[in-house]
């Protein structure tokens, strides 16, 4: 049984926007998924159903066997963490340490357990030096790490990260990439909601594309990206690696593995063959 199961989900906002129009989706524990699509496609509306911030109007969302209509956001958030697009929305405390403690208040931990958890997450994300700093005094990327840490401290099985690469420079993006890879390695499900095709393609195993409240494609990343029509329909542009490959394919280079290393090796092999 999938950890998150969405069936025939419909949702409309009070301004009559029909944001979701019959979405079906299953997510297992340990998956790394990217949900992609143009603005207004319904990506954020969909993932807000996973931790109960939105309740289905019709259809069902089942998380860990429980109907999200029947459980509170607080109960769901212990298993499904949500990192908002703008970290400023979720930083409430005067120090990073206290920020992490906020989410633990509702959990029955002793002071020592709380301290241990906070230490563990700060070290894991490499932000222990910020413990006594005000979150607003940090850079955008550091703030994003604090926002992730504040959710991670609750040890959720699923981590939803909404537009994680927005406003990050290359170094911050690299750091974020390492953090997400490590969290995925620990067996957590990571759900990226993003426009960043390259970041999604580099990290996720499965891509779900959405348009106008419906799922257009759902499958292994190579299959989804290969289907030009569907990718176009979702208002997305292929990853740079794919665009490069298309040019090489015209010259006879063929590759089945879409990692940068493998593509590079295939190109070198082809070039050597040509020289020989």
């Amino acid at each position: 049984m999938p950890y998150i199961s969405v069936s025939d989900l419909h949702f409309s906002y009070p301004n009559y926007t029909h944001a979701l129009q019959g979405v079906d989706l299953d997510i297992d524990l340990g998956e790394f998924i990217a949900i992609m699509g143009e603005n207004g496609a319904g990506k954020t509306t969909l993932v807000k159903h996973f931790n109960g911030l939105l309740k289905p109007q019709t259809g069902n969302v089942i998380v860990d066997g429980a109907d999200t209509r029947k459980v509170t956001v607080a109960q769901l958030s212990k298993n499904v963490g949500y990192v908002f697009q703008n970290p400023l929305y979720q930083l409430f405390s005067e120090t990073v340490g206290k920020e992490l403690e906020l989410g633990l208040r509702s959990m029955n931990f002793s002071d020592q357990e709380k301290k241990d958890r906070i230490d563990e997450v700060l070290i894991a994300l490499g932000i222990e030096r910020f413990r006594d700093r005000h979150p607003l005094m940090l850079s955008e990327g550091e703030r994003k790490s604090v926002a992730i840490a504040s959710v991670l401290v609750m040890d959720p099985k699923v981590l939803i990260v909404d537009e994680p690469t927005l406003a990050l420079d290359l170094l911050e993006k690299k750091r974020l990439s390492n953090v997400l890879t490590r969290l995925h390695g620990e067996g957590r499900s990571i759900i990226l909601v993003t426009h960043d095709v390259d970041f999604a393609f580099d990290h996720s195993e499965r891509i779900v594309t959405m348009s106008r409240g419906k799922i257009l494609a759902d499958g292994p990343k190579e299959d989804v990206v290969n289907d030009n029509t569907l990718f176009d329909k979702a208002g997305l542009v292929e990853p740079q690696l794919f665009q490069l490959l298309k040019h090489f394919e015209l010259s006879g280079v063929h590759t089945s593995d879409f990692s940068v290393k493998s593509v590079f090796q295939d190109i070198v092999k082809h070039t050597k063959k040509g020289e020989g």
């Binding site: 906002y13 979720q90 989410g103 959710v151």
Partner: protein
């Protein structure tokens, strides 16, 4: 809450009411407001309410207005209860009806008048541009502020805090949530100020506007009829006393 907000948001429609000059609509809505505040006669108030129907129907504002009134039911009931306790049944119900009428006419005004047009109209009436700019920009940011507040509340809930557990926790949590709200709002205000300076705001005292307002016959007609009816009703009331 979003229903109330929508009641005062312009809708993109091309109806005769939308096309009216904001100044004539301003005079009309002020006249309706004045009568609804001063008059306690149920017949005149009923007639005034009925007179709004053509504007609501032609301006395609029926669903907006009904949604707004629906989301205002708790406030209307609370106000009604207080009025009934204070004034008694008759005047309590009339006072509540007056509130609904006044709200509806302003809702109709804002649903059919673009904020930029309102700004130009106020400038043409001699109100300084700086003042109208602040007014119009603030009004434009209200929906954004509402959505940001909702996101902040969501982010707080997503940290596993049961706001519904107690009233004390709720009050304390809302105070905590003010921190990001104030920061986000202040940052936006600074960004707006920078953008305005970058576009030479205040470089010249005398300004021209892209949109020119012109009063048509229907506008004059609406203004004259509104003023005559208001003066008539008020004079009758004065003479009767």
């Amino acid at each position: 809450m979003s229903g109330i907000l929508q009641a005062f948001q312009w809708t993109r429609e091309d109806t005769p009411i939308h096309r009216l000059d904001p100044r004539s609509k301003m005079v009309w809505s002020l006249c309706v407001f004045i009568i609804s505040i001063i008059i306690w006669d149920p017949f005149i108030l009923t007639a005034l309410t009925i007179s709004l129907f053509p504007f609501i129907i032609i301006g395609k504002a029926t669903s907006r207005l009904s949604k707004a009134l629906k989301s205002m039911i708790p406030y209307i009931l609370l106000l009604g209860a207080l009025e009934i306790i204070y004034y008694g049944w008759f005047y309590g119900i009339i006072a509540t009806a007056k509130f609904v009428l006044a709200t509806s006419v302003f809702s109709l005004f804002f649903v059919t008048t673009h904020l930029d047009d309102l700004g130009v109209a106020l400038n043409s009436l001699g109100i300084p541009f700086e003042f109208t700019f602040v007014l119009v920009s603030s009004a434009k940011y209200i929906p954004i502020l509402f959505w940001e507040t909702q996101d902040i509340i969501d982010a707080y809930k997503a940290r596993g805090i049961e706001l519904e557990r107690s009233w004390w926790l709720k009050i304390r949590s809302y105070a905590t949530m003010l921190v990001p709200l104030i920061i986000v709002t202040t940052r936006r205000a600074f960004r707006l100020a920078e953008a305005m300076e970058a576009r030479a705001f205040g470089y010249q005292r005398k300004r021209t506007t892209y949109k020119q307002l012109t009063m048509k016959t229907t506008d004059y007609l609406l203004m004259v009829v509104s003023v005559i009816l208001t003066v008539g009703v008020l004079s009758t009331l004065y003479l009767a006393h």
